[in-house]
């Protein structure tokens, strides 16, 4: 908005028109956001203050009771400690590995690189019952293709391998298997967006592939890495599928029924019928994810328009 016009009239009009058109572009998205994001979210907030003792919710009658119920539950500290441990392992490791893999792939784009990218991506399609089945077999030394490694490390069977102290690492391994491919594709796409002219110029100045990756490509894909951090962190706080699958009683693994906070939320809702406490628990997880996002966004100026 640096160009100066002689009279102010048309300029104001132009500005108004641009603002108006911005809202028109946003409108459909806004409607969907209200209907399927903000609306239900606000309602969840209301539920967290509602009393469910009489079957029908009594809004606002519970005060902070639901929150107190959730925080005072004997499993609360346990699940929070578990998830903290899981975050410490999974977030830095997940992001670093994805970025390293994308950078390595992008050093020599070609058929081999794209074939490998496909191999990395496909596990993203393995979810739910298929992932469950696969994880059990992969962690059973007698049947797993990785069995020789597991046995060399001294783990004879599934039960020996799946010990509570190793769960953060095991969930990281399972989660990375099915989740990393999408992020590798995104980071690789981001690298594709790096201008070839800049890279050519660097090459002429004697910059080799490693230096290009470290000093040019890596800083340029920073916004995508921030985006990945925000989503991975918040998503991992809400870890559910892996511990839920491992914790079901029919596998004889010694995984507690409620290992993660999200499982506790489900337990409140579906075992105890306490939707208020479940909502309180869910909102707490949202708050943790949002806190991390807020910190990173303010720290990096992620929302500023590049001029």
């Amino acid at each position: 908005m640096s160009q100066k016009t002689a009279n102010a009239g048309p300029r104001v009009n132009l500005k108004l028109r641009r603002t108006l058109s911005a809202y028109v572009f946003m409108l459909p998205y806004l409607l969907f956001m209200l209907a399927f994001g903000i609306g239900p979210g606000v309602y969840a907030f209301l539920i967290s203050f509602a009393d469910f003792k009489k079957g029908v919710p009594q809004y606002f009658s519970a005060g902070f009771k639901n929150y107190i119920t959730a925080f005072k539950d004997f499993r609360f500290a346990f699940t929070m400690g578990n998830i903290a441990e899981f975050l410490v392992v999974s977030v830095p490791l997940g992001i670093a590995l994805v970025v390293v893999i994308a950078l390595l792939l992008h050093m020599r784009p070609g058929r081999l690189a794209s074939a490998l990218r496909t191999v990395y991506f496909i596990p993203g399609a393995v979810t739910g019952p298929a992932l469950l089945l696969l994880a059990i077999f992969m962690f059973s030394p007698a049947m797993s293709p990785f069995g020789f490694i597991q046995q060399a490390l001294g783990y004879k069977d599934f039960d020996a391998l799946i010990a509570p102290s190793r769960l953060p690492v095991i969930f990281t391994v399972i989660g990375f298997f099915s989740g990393a491919g999408m992020w590798i594709a995104i980071q690789y796409g981001a690298l594709e967006g790096v201008s070839t002219e800049v890279l050519e110029a660097a090459k002429i100045d004697g910059c080799n592939s490693w230096q290009q990756a470290l000093y040019i490509k890596f800083p340029l894909i920073r916004p995508y890495i921030i985006y990945q951090f925000i989503l991975i962190f918040a998503g991992n706080v809400q870890l559910f599928v892996e511990p839920q699958l491992m914790g079901t009683t029919w596998i004889m693994a010694n995984v507690p029924q409620q290992w993660a906070p999200n499982q506790l939320a489900y337990s409140f809702a579906f075992d105890l019928g306490n939707f208020g406490a479940a909502a309180a628990m869910s909102l707490l997880m949202l708050l943790i994810g949002l806190g991390a996002a807020y910190f990173v966004i303010r720290w990096t100026g992620f929302f500023d328009i590049k001029s």
Binding site: L104, V119, A185
Partner: protein, 318 residues
Amino acid sequence: MSERNLLLETAAAAMPRWKQFVRNLFRDLGPVGFFVRWAVLLVFALYFGLPLLWLLLAPSKDQFAIISLNPLAFGSWETVVKAWQNVNAYVHGEIWLWFGNSILYVAVSLAIGMAISIPAGYILAVARFRGRNLLLWLTLICMLLPQSAMVLPLFLELNIFHLVNTPWAVILPACFFPFGVYLAYVYYGSSLPTDLLDAARVDGCSEWALFRHIALPLAKPLLGLLAFISFNNNWNNFFGPYVMLNNDKLFNLPVGLQTMIAATSAIRPGFNTTPGMLKFQQADAAMAGLIMILPVVIVFLLSQRYVIGGAFTGSVKG
């Protein structure tokens, strides 16, 4: 090419062929770098690939072969055929009905979701207007909302409009794609120069034409990627349909397969099958899993061209 490169090429021409080959192989990675790169990439190829290979072979092995044979050995075609027949026998091939439902839900929510998200992400990246920051935060909050918090409100909301247990209960919430809005926002923010838009405006381009003729063509790699992510998310969408649908004729594949496997003894040793229900084995479950995964692989291979295509060669200085 620069003078330096020319010099290098002349020097290279004087070398024996094998040396040239090796040079060409390593280029500027260096021999150590070359091997480190391949070692890392191959280790991860095994980590991601071996379980997939195992899954691909699993339908060929019955309960005994799966333990006695080498993990990566092929069992027998007979077992594969039997697994195929067992999967197809479940309620007279209901799996193909779910397959069709999945395609319908995915296609509709992908089309609507993309049409809504791309313009929104574009505007958030290039325009300044009141409420922009608020919208960015709200989008972020929506993305981070735990599903456990959303299930009940969404169900009640759709129930008011009598949409529960209809395809719309799955499709409409899936059209809301904040992830896509954000990725589009990041993409346009880092690769669409605002100067370019200003120049076009001076030339009398309307806001719609700017989007249609500059922003949209520029986003080709993004569109491919986003379409694929939307496809993958909705194809695997389990929880939404699980809560919203109770008519098995409307199920999508994940929910259908879940009920199919839960109704049998495939992964529950000692759990007796309902009388009259077929007896499901691991091989059958693996076959069902493969039927679900295969479309994703095919679509990925087809869309790969659009995702990397090379159509995008940075219009920005960086």
